[in-house]
Amino acid sequence: MSGVHGIDLFIIISYLLAILFFGTIFRKYIRTTEDFFLAGKMLPWWVISMSIIGTNIGAYDYIGAAGGAFRFGIAQANYEWIGAIPAMVVSAFLFVPYYWRAGVYTVPEYLGKRYNIYVRLIEAILWGIFLVCLLGIFFWASGLMLNTYLGWPINVGILVTAVVVGIYTVTGGLTAVALTDVVQLVVMFVGGIAVAILGFWQVGGWSGLVSKITATHPDHFKLFLPLDNPVYPWLGMIFGLAFVLSPAWWCCNQSIIQRTLGARSEWDAKAGMLFAAFPKTLIPLLVVLPGFFALALAGGSSQIQNPDQALPWVIKNILPPGLAGLVFVAFIAALHSSVDSTLNSAATVWTKDIYQKFIKKDASDKHYLIVGRILTIAFVIWGVIFAPITNKFPGIYVAMQNLLSFFQGPTLATVLLGVAWRRATQWGGLAGLVGGVGISATLFALKVNFLYVAWWSFVGSLLINVIISLFTKPEPLDKLEGLVYGLVMKDKKIQNIIARRVNGDE
């Protein structure tokens, strides 16, 4: 692929310069930490929706999902459908309004208000480490992509990504991140639709695709696969993915939730999350179809040895010059929209949950804004340095994913009871979180499939939280104001307090 056509190179360089220019326009609007971390609470629902999906879809998803579809078929789409849509609805209707009403910057901050400082610290450290390590992995992926497609040395590719994304994220904060995500999502869809149209043309339309694939892979158009499938057993898809991992991701993930916290109103926050589910429903067009095209056109040959080569094969063999550049720009856009969000969220967690809470409590807002920007620059530099290390130790990515999966079930249980059950106490929350992680670690050591680990750690954490809460002193009502669903719905006095708080009267 390194023999790139001139027009493709022109499109790619034009995109990089345009996104850099567009992103830095917003620097003049950043005066406070609220501007920097929450876009001044000015984001409308449609920006939030598009930014959420831009953040959610990374280049790894493109390559990995196309490979998954090549190998296992449409079951890969479970991650975009049952593994996302219901959770996004629940997040929009239950979790997002309470985070927004609580006026917090981060999910750990909400947990600190609802439970105690230990729960906040555990969650903040987890997310702080995870997001920062993810940066190194993203930077390496970007260097590798630019090397594969353009022939640039990997270090040059990493530096280009760091400079472009770093500059607009440091200067424009969440505003620049969210609005560039919008542009990047449009580019991703244009590129994905171009692949879909040309792919269908080559395989003879939908019926041609189905007949070519089912001739050799009869189960490739089944969403649920038997329990002996090593990756997508149907029971794990429902109980592990749909009931636990997906709600944990869509209701508790800082980089996803942060966009809704920057909403201009509670309705925009809810609508932003809900309407994001529409483009999410279409994501398989972008990430699953290329795997099918590769299988239909080259599955019987030895051209594709590794399923992850499915998408590069499609770009190389289906797309003409110009369109190949456009699709590659879609890749870069997917990667950038994930890097900028991770960078901004990492800076938010480290500044608000760790620096401001535990290191320097009573400084001015300007001080924390400077710290946020310094940390963003520091994380860019860290990502550039850490990127080659992630390649030397490929287990780092797997280890980070495992670490996060340990916490997914327990975090969901803790947040769910925190929002939905007023009787959940601070010690119940702490015990549930720690106990749930213990269950995860035990099941992981027993080599249980991670989907089942998620389910049982969620159930265990929920039970521990309930039992300990019932044996400990209930939290005072004034602590729970605006943080617990039932309390707000039933208590007129609390509704009035929240209304005044939202209007800025107190």
Partner: protein, 67 residues
């Protein structure tokens, strides 16, 4: 125990998924109107997020019944 789970036809996966989607639709319609429209600039019908959630989940039901 593993034999028991393995003996369940895949068809039941579709049944559980469909019931799950229907359950979420019903749950959204139990949210009070005031809660749905809270902080909205007006109460036009398109701002009723329950309608959009229902539409979204019906699409999901269709997809899981087809595939």
């Amino acid at each position: 125990m593993n034999n028991f789970w393995a003996s369940i036809p895949l068809f039941w996966g579709k049944v559980v998924a469909t019931l799950f989607f229907i359950g979420v639709i019903i749950w959204t319609w139990f949210r009070p109107k005031s809660y749905i429209f809270s902080d909205a600039p007006d109460k036009k019908i398109w701002r009723d997020l329950r309608i959009w959630a229902t539409f979204l989940l019906i699409i999901q039901i269709a997809l899981y019944l087809i595939f």
